[in-house]
């Protein structure tokens, strides 16, 4: 049972080794001449006057909430899709009800203007 996962672990390990080896070689080979002006964050030649590490209005949080909503729906559909012919008409009507509720939700956020930018 767990034998199936050896491949996934092996490829993950190889990928990690590959990425860290490239970074390691770069650390060894690359030159190092740092001074204050070079280390400054790039802001088109100006000195940064606003630090990015402070509070900012994230308009994108609505998208994140909608994502959670609809991604749960998507995950629910995978096993249903894989068993579709066995479930037959019963499964189809069940999913139709489920999608109708969610489509209602989508219509609601759409009308409320949550999808406008």
């Amino acid at each position: 049972m767990l034998a199936e996962y050896t491949g996934a672990v092996v490829i993950l390990a190889v990928a990690l080794v590959l990425a860290s080896a490239l970074l390691g070689i770069h650390l060894l080979v690359g030159p190092r001449r740092s001074f204050a002006e070079k280390d400054e964050p790039f802001e088109c030649g100006e000195r940064p006057i606003v630090s990015p590490h402070q509070r900012f209005s994230v308009k994108f949080y609505i998208v994140a909430m909608l994502f959670i909503l609809f991604d749960v729906e998507a995950v629910f559909m995978y096993p249903w899709g894989a068993l579709f012919t066995e479930l037959g008409w019963f499964g189809f009507v069940e999913m139709l009800t489920f999608v109708a509720v969610l489509a209602g939700g989508l219509a609601y956020v759409w009308m409320k203007g949550a999808l406008e930018w």
């Binding site: 491949g7 993950l12 990425a19 490239l22 088109c44 994108f60 489509a103 989508l106 759409w110 406008e116």
Partner: protein
């Protein structure tokens, strides 16, 4: 040990081909194809002792240059996160190859050879799970750089990537319903067959009247059974990869280079590399799901092996069929890479609101409709059969 050795060999093969050969060559194809499309000469300068080999040495020059550049970390940046972000972006891209079958299942006497690194029965879900980790890489990169442009880029990236993840998941549900599986090897086996174009007319007793048309067959590939799913899934995975026309997180003209603005040398190189590896992942995934995987149209595995066994014997015939299938798979991958390059150099970059509208207002309702129509058609065909 008997378990580990074939797994390690298969891993080294797919990583060697995809990351070692395909990814560098794609950087060359990107330059050459854009040059051809824009009527320029293109990459042809890098040379060893005057030999340029059509510019094929450019990827090599890239690696040397990226490795020997200074590693600049801006003042005030979070050094640990700044270092980790490119690794988090690159590792999932490589690890996605674990479940992609580049060949079928073959019997050599008692031993079964299955050309996939990890044959998980929730295969496609593994790809989605691993690929969504890459989102963290871009968001952390923008946050850790202590740069306003980077932060804007990573905010754009986060909203774009999670939005398209929803439609990406929903646009392939139709494929699960058609093939009744999430396992990519099973999808490949299912696509190694044909269906009659007018087969559904049989239930009305009309096939006979069509004559030879009634016997016309098509390979039962995902692209023919789920054409809308193919287009939507391709759009979503290209948006996930953040390459043009969906490169708003980079947006050179507005936010300089977005989330990897403060990256130099090989740290930038890892972001760059992971984008090109993802092009190969997308091509391989599209091939496995929609383009019949390793199968040759109208020639099933049994036909091939049965056809050449009298000449070479069963063992050699199976081996030949295996080689043929692996070559077929990579030919299809090359076609899909070409298609992505063509799209990348043809379409301009849309505005951000247009990208989000396409996802939430067009593709989400369309993918739900696709699922319902697919379900209805499957049930009607089933009902007619019974």
């Amino acid at each position: 040990m008997e378990v580990l050795l074939p797994v390690v060999l298969k891993t080294l093969f797919i990583i060697g081909v995809a990351v070692g050969a395909f990814a560098p060559v794609i950087t060359w194809i990107e330059r050459k194809q854009s040059a051809v499309m824009q009527d320029r000469i293109g990459a042809n300068r890098a040379d060893i002792a005057g030999i340029t080999v059509l510019g094929l040495l450019h990827p090599l020059a890239d690696v040397i240059k990226l490795l020997t550049k200074e590693d600049v970390v801006p003042a005030g940046a979070n050094r640990v996160m700044h270092m980790l972000a490119p690794v988090i972006a690159a590792v999932p891209a490589i690890a996605s190859f674990a479940v992609i079958p580049y060949g079928g299942i073959y019997q050599f006497g008692d031993t079964t050879v299955n050309l996939v690194v990890a044959d998980l029965d929730w295969g496609l879900l593994y790809v989605f799970a691993i690929a969504s980790i890459a989102t963290y890489g871009t968001v952390i990169a923008g946050w850790a750089s202590n740069n306003n442009w980077s932060l804007l880029g990573s905010l754009r990236a986060s909203a774009q990537m999670i939005s398209y993840e929803v439609t990406m998941g929903l646009s392939v549900v139709g494929v699960f319903m058609v093939f009744q599986t999430l396992r990519l090897t099973d999808m490949g086996v299912a696509q190694d067959s044909t269906f009659r174009i007018f087969g559904f007319l049989e239930h009305f007793g009309l096939v006979e009247s069509l004559g030879f048309l009634g016997h016309l067959t098509l390979p039962s590939w995902g692209i023919l059974l789920q054409p809308l799913g193919f287009i939507m899934f391709l759009t979503c995975v290209m948006a996930e990869n953040k390459r043009a026309p969906f490169d708003l997180p980079e947006g050179e003209s507005e936010i300089i280079a977005g989330y990897f603005l403060e990256y130099s040398g090989m740290r930038f190189g890892l972001f760059y590399m992971s984008e090109f590896i993802e092009v190969v992942v997308i091509a391989a995934l599209m091939t496995a799901i929609f383009l019949g995987g390793w199968s040759i149209p109208w020639l099933s595995q049994a036909d091939i092996i049965g056809g050449i066994t009298p000449v070479f014997g069963a063992g050699v015939a199976t081996a030949l069929c295996m080689v043929l299938h692996v070559v077929t798979f990579f030919v299809k991958v090359i076609v899909m890479i070409w298609l992505q390059m063509q799209i990348r150099w043809t379409l301009p970059r849309p505005r951000y609101d247009q990208v989000m509208d396409l996802c939430w207002k067009v593709m989400l309702p369309l993918s739900l409709a696709n699922i319902l129509v697919t379900g209805l058609v499957i049930l009607l065909i089933q009902g007619a059969k019974s």
